[in-house]
């Protein structure tokens, strides 16, 4: 044999993730979402909402930190059920790569870019807000020499605190993992991308509802949100690794319904 030994789990993971990233790079739908949510939207929201806290700012955080993950759902479904439907999975599974390498490589190639885009978007949002001019109170024209401050109306310098950014990033971690688990569960229960999308849309309703709820709770109860996210992340990570350990080549090749008709 020309080859030496099969790559280690981590080498294999990096190899598979590299290939999947190449696919992601060619996925215009996901790329478009990454550009929009990572750069355009944060600047737009920072300039239009002029955030000084409260609901509009929460909305901006949620959209910027979480939306990239929601947009990657089709890529997750393609990586699992899509490859099975297009019959590209069998040659990959015929290699000595470990099950965990294939699984984690596919998962990380979708999760990490979305996480980075979320973080980038939050950074751009915070920077744009910090560079914005102070917000003037909405007062009628004042006589010369009279300032709003002298009348008891202080100007407000919009800003984003580190705590807010931390909360938003923790949410991004948790929601990203939840979307991954959702995509994988939908992939293992179906045999076509279309049916997986339908199932994911149905199973995803609690996630979307949770996101909407969090957009109102984010700064009103930051400790709760942060605590919730910090509990959710390890729980979801454990769930992901449990699925990785249970993930079998046979199931990946045949699918559930495929078992019955394999010949």
């Amino acid at each position: 044999m020309t080859g030496s030994q099969a790559p280690s789990v981590w080498q294999g993971t990096v190899l598979v993730a590299g290939r999947e990233l190449g696919e992601l790079r060619r996925n215009r739908q996901v790329l478009f979402q990454f550009v929009v949510f990572g750069t355009v939207f944060p600047v737009f929201l920072a300039l239009t909402l002029r955030p000084t806290g409260g609901a509009p700012q929460n909305f901006a955080f949620v959209v910027i930190a979480i939306a990239p993950h929601l947009g990657t759902l089709p890529a997750i479904l393609q990586a699992f059920v899509g490859e099975r439907a297009e019959r590209t999975l069998a040659p990959l599974l015929a290699t000595p790569l470990a099950n965990q390498s294939i699984f984690l490589g596919k998962v990380l190639a979708v999760y990490l870019p979305a996480l980075c885009v979320g973080a980038l978007g939050l950074g751009i949002f915070a920077t744009t807000v910090a560079l914005s001019p102070p917000e003037q109170p909405n007062l009628p024209a004042l006589p010369p020499g009279v300032t709003p401050e002298s009348l008891g109306f202080p100007t407000v310098q919009p800003g984003v605190t580190a705590a807010q950014l931390g909360e938003a990033f923790a949410l991004s971690l948790a929601v990203g993992l939840a979307v991954l688990v959702l995509g994988i569960v939908a992939s293992t229960r179906t045999n076509t991308v279309k049916s997986a999308q339908t199932l994911a849309a149905l199973l995803g309703l609690p996630i979307y509802a949770g996101v909407a709820f969090l957009s109102f709770r984010l700064t009103s109860s930051p400790l709760q949100v942060l605590t919730g996210a910090l509990i959710a992340v390890p729980v979801l990570l454990l769930a992901l690794f449990a699925v990785a350990r249970k993930w079998r080549r046979e199931e990946a090749i045949l699918g559930r319904a495929g078992r019955a008709r394999a010949g």
């Binding site: 030994q5 090749i253 394999a262």
Partner: protein, 314 residues
């Protein structure tokens, strides 16, 4: 004695209540090409998937070079190359990056992978398309790519499942030539196919599967011989002499003798005994013998008779 490249013992695979493969026992020795024939749903693909370690056994054992596919699946895959006729490709990747990716999945370094890919591209005549996207290649070229992928790690066992499906006759012939070239002292090849002439041309042994069971396993020559134990048709072309009267020849045993101008056709269960007597009589009558054709059984006939007999037994 060298270890068998592939050794299946009572390999059984069930999907729920349906048995896809039942107690299949089969060995493939180094340097041997074994063709697996059978109708759709006979269990050919299941056998290949089991041997490649893609699916598990319900009962029995399968070893590749002595390594158990259940216990040592990852090491088994280091020694197995797999070509599936219906497998897809990463169409957006270039041929070179696709093969490099798979080479590295077998543990090759970047440099070793690049070298091995270059050699295979050259051997298979794909060098000039190395930068092309897989989606732009013809079906024949894609099958060559699949073969190159399966050979990256120089496997001792090559599994080909309907590998010439969808190829035009010329591409299929070229593909068969490649398979024939790949026969080596240390490599065993399992060839699952519907194309009986392909099996006849390439295989040292043929295994016939029917509803998950092996109903025959022998050399193509012996299978053909076994199937032609009945009556065979003989055609003799003659020149000159007086008109042939069928009645003059029936005494030697040919049945259904018919004369069409210069052609005689008859059937006999004993061509070795009957033909010389008929020829002697024709020569005696002043005829010249242009040619004698005794119909030999083809692998297709042997296969069909085996499958029909198996169906009749059930």
């Amino acid at each position: 004695m060298a270890t068998a490249v592939l050794d299946c013992r009572s390999a059984t695979r069930r999907y729920g209540t349906r048995t896809a493969l039942a107690e299949a026992t089969l060995t493939v020795e180094p340097g041997e090409i074994v063709a697996v024939l059978g109708p759709n749903g006979a269990g050919k693909s299941t056998l290949v998937r089991l041997c490649a370690g893609l699916i598990g056994l319900t009962e029995g054992t399968v070893t590749v070079l002595g390594l158990d596919v259940t216990d040592d699946a990852s090491r088994v895959r280091e020694h197995v190359g797999l070509v599936l006729g219906d497998a897809g490709f990463y169409d957006a990747m270039t041929l070179r990056s696709y093969l490099t990716f798979f080479a590295r999945s077998y543990g090759m370094t970047r440099t070793a992978a690049a070298g091995r890919v270059a050699v295979l591209l050259e051997e298979l005549g794909l060098s000039d398309r190395a930068g092309s996207r897989l989606g732009s290649l013809s079906q024949g070229m894609r099958q060559k790519v699949a073969l190159a992928r399966a050979l990256l790690h120089e496997p001792e066992l090559l599994l080909l499942d309907e590998a010439t499906n969808g190829l035009d006759p010329e591409a299929a012939a070229r593909f068969r030539a490649e398979i024939s070239r790949l026969r080596s002292d240390r490599r065993g090849i399992v060839l699952c196919t519907h194309l009986l002439h392909e099996a006849d041309e390439l295989a040292d042994r043929v295994v016939v599967l029917q509803e998950g069971r092996i109903i025959a396993a022998d050399t193509p020559a012996r299978l053909k011989q076994a199937s032609q134990s009945g009556v065979r048709e003989v055609v003799i072309e003659v020149t000159g002499g007086k008109r042939v009267d069928p009645k003059d020849l029936t005494g030697f045993g040919p049945k259904d003798l018919v004369v069409y101008g210069s052609l005689l056709r008859y059937r006999t269960a004993d061509p070795e005994g009957v033909n010389p007597q008929v020829i002697a009589a024709l020569v005696g009558a002043g005829h010249g013998i242009v040619q004698v054709t005794t119909q030999t059984s083809t692998l297709e006939e042997a296969y069909l008779s085996l499958v029909r007999a198996s169906e009749a037994d059930r």
